[in-house]
């Protein structure tokens, strides 16, 4: 059964990408500039501009996007998606581009690996750890009267499944 589920997964990802590209083709980006003016990052990093990302996707300059680090600079605030008068979402394009870049084997921020490995190991993105109070005293969950965090019951199954979704470098 595992094999068939994996086959379906590839098919579903392809369909999602096709749909996104089709939506892109039916909307026309006027390059009006509302997205960079709303973007909290574009004002600080000159090489990041959501309008340029939309233009490059429309022009098919995909490998340029996939290998650059601009697709990794978005904070995911979604103001671009909210304000686009043509209902194009630079944010959604960026997510798809990131997924593709990882699949194909382009570099991405290292921190994501740590995040993902911790989730696979423990279920959470961070193991519970003691905090410091204002008086600089260590204080863990039990000292705060908080219950212990219960991990996924079927931990082995959880790990296998989540690991199965991560295909770095096109090694599927």
């Amino acid at each position: 059964m595992g094999g068939t589920v994996e086959d379906r997964e590839v098919e579903i990802v392809s369909l999602m990408l096709q749909r996104a590209v089709k939506e892109m083709a039916t909307e026309v980006c006027e390059q009006c500039g509302k997205c960079p003016s709303a973007c909290p990052v574009a004002g600080h990093i000159e090489t990041f501009n959501p309008r340029h990302i939309v233009a490059k996707v429309s022009l098919g300059r995909m490998s340029e996007l996939l290998e650059s680090d601009e697709i990794w600079m978005c904070t995911s605030c979604q103001k671009c998606k909210e304000r686009c008068p043509e209902n194009i979402s630079p944010y959604d394009l960026i997510l798809i581009l990131r997924n593709l870049a990882v699949r194909v084997g382009y570099p991405y921020p290292e921190g994501y690996d740590t995040f993902i490995d911790t989730v696979i190991e423990s279920g959470s993105s961070q193991e519970p750890r003691a905090q410091r109070t204002r008086a600089d005293k260590a204080c863990d969950r039990s000292a705060l009267g908080l219950p212990e965090v219960k991990k996924p019951e079927e931990m082995e199954a959880f790990r296998d499944i989540v690991r199965g979704f991560i295909r770095r470098g096109g090694s599927s």
Partner: protein, 275 residues
């Protein structure tokens, strides 16, 4: 949350076996992994027959988006369902998702909250920060208006304080960029804190732990590089940051020790001294 909400007749239940929602690493690296993680958390709530109250805006939006995507894509729903079975879970899409602001404003209501206030926070001028994923995208039916959110302001006013408008209100806290561009993250947060300080506002209020951690927990890191960010000589941001429920607890007359105020890292004394 755990101290204040039960006093407003909300029963809180810890869900065993929950995991990360997958945002933002999985959404960037494997969207399917993101949907899976979000769906499995919702499946646990469905199994327990509970409504869900995700405290973090990122988790909230992950669940809302996953619920929406799975409802429109039966292939994906079947794929996720087949995998969930291996964890003895089943996602049906029936779970009710409630945002904290929605719970406080739309379900409990500012009037009821006002009625439990015994120690009004008069003369305090506060800035609300609902956070990105509480208000955008409006296409997913978020709890407040994307361009002019007011609910958290009304909730602040119910405590007797003034909620001040400020130009950066709907701006991002920047924390989702921490993995990729650490300094830009701090710059984005610094701009918001500086603006609040310059307007003479007494403190920043949010319900999202991710945003809270950025503005409160990392404020000292921001100050470490603030002269570099703003090209100043002796700059500093000093903005007390609170969870809304901490202020609500204080206004209800609860002891600061029960409200986790010991763990806030920003300069909150200046506000506590006035309450």
């Amino acid at each position: 949350m755990r101290e204040v909400l039960p006093r407003l007749d909300v029963e809180l239940v810890d869900m065993p076996g929950t995991s990360c929602c997958g945002f933002p690493a999985f959404s960037s690296i494997s969207s399917l992994g993101w949907y899976y993680l979000s769906a499995r958390n919702m499946a646990i709530a469905e199994k327990l027959g509970l409504d869900m109250l995700p405290l973090c805006n990122g988790c909230y939006q992950s669940f809302v988006e996953t619920k929406h995507v799975l409802s429109e894509n039966s292939d994906l729903m079947n794929l996720i369902g087949a995998k969930l079975e291996k964890e003895n879970l089943e996602y049906r899409g029936t779970v009710k998702l409630t945002h904290v602001i929605e719970l406080l404003y739309d379900i409990i209501g500012a009037r009821k909250i006002g009625s439990v206030v015994v120690n009004p926070l008069e003369k305090l001028k506060l800035a609300s920060h609902p956070g990105c994923h509480a208000i955008r995208p409006s296409s997913l039916g978020m709890p407040d208006d994307a361009e002019h959110p007011r609910k958290l302001d009304y909730l602040i006013e119910a405590l007797g304080a003034d909620s001040m408008d400020y130009p950066e209100k709907t701006d991002c806290c920047g924390s989702m960029l921490a993995t990729a561009k650490g300094q830009t993250t701090l710059t984005i947060a610094a701009e918001k804190l500086r603006s609040i300080g310059e307007l003479g506002i007494d403190g920043l209020v949010t319900t999202c732990p991710f945003c809270f951690q950025m503005f409160d927990g990392r404020q000292s890191e921001i100050n470490d590089i603030i002269d570099f960010i703003f090209e100043t000589d002796d700059g500093e941001v000093e903005v007390p940051v609170f969870y809304y429920t901490q202020l609500l607890g204080l206004a209800m007359g609860m002891e600061p020790g029960r409200l986790g105020l010991d763990l806030n890292k920003s300069p909150i004394e200046r506000v506590l001294d006035r309450i």
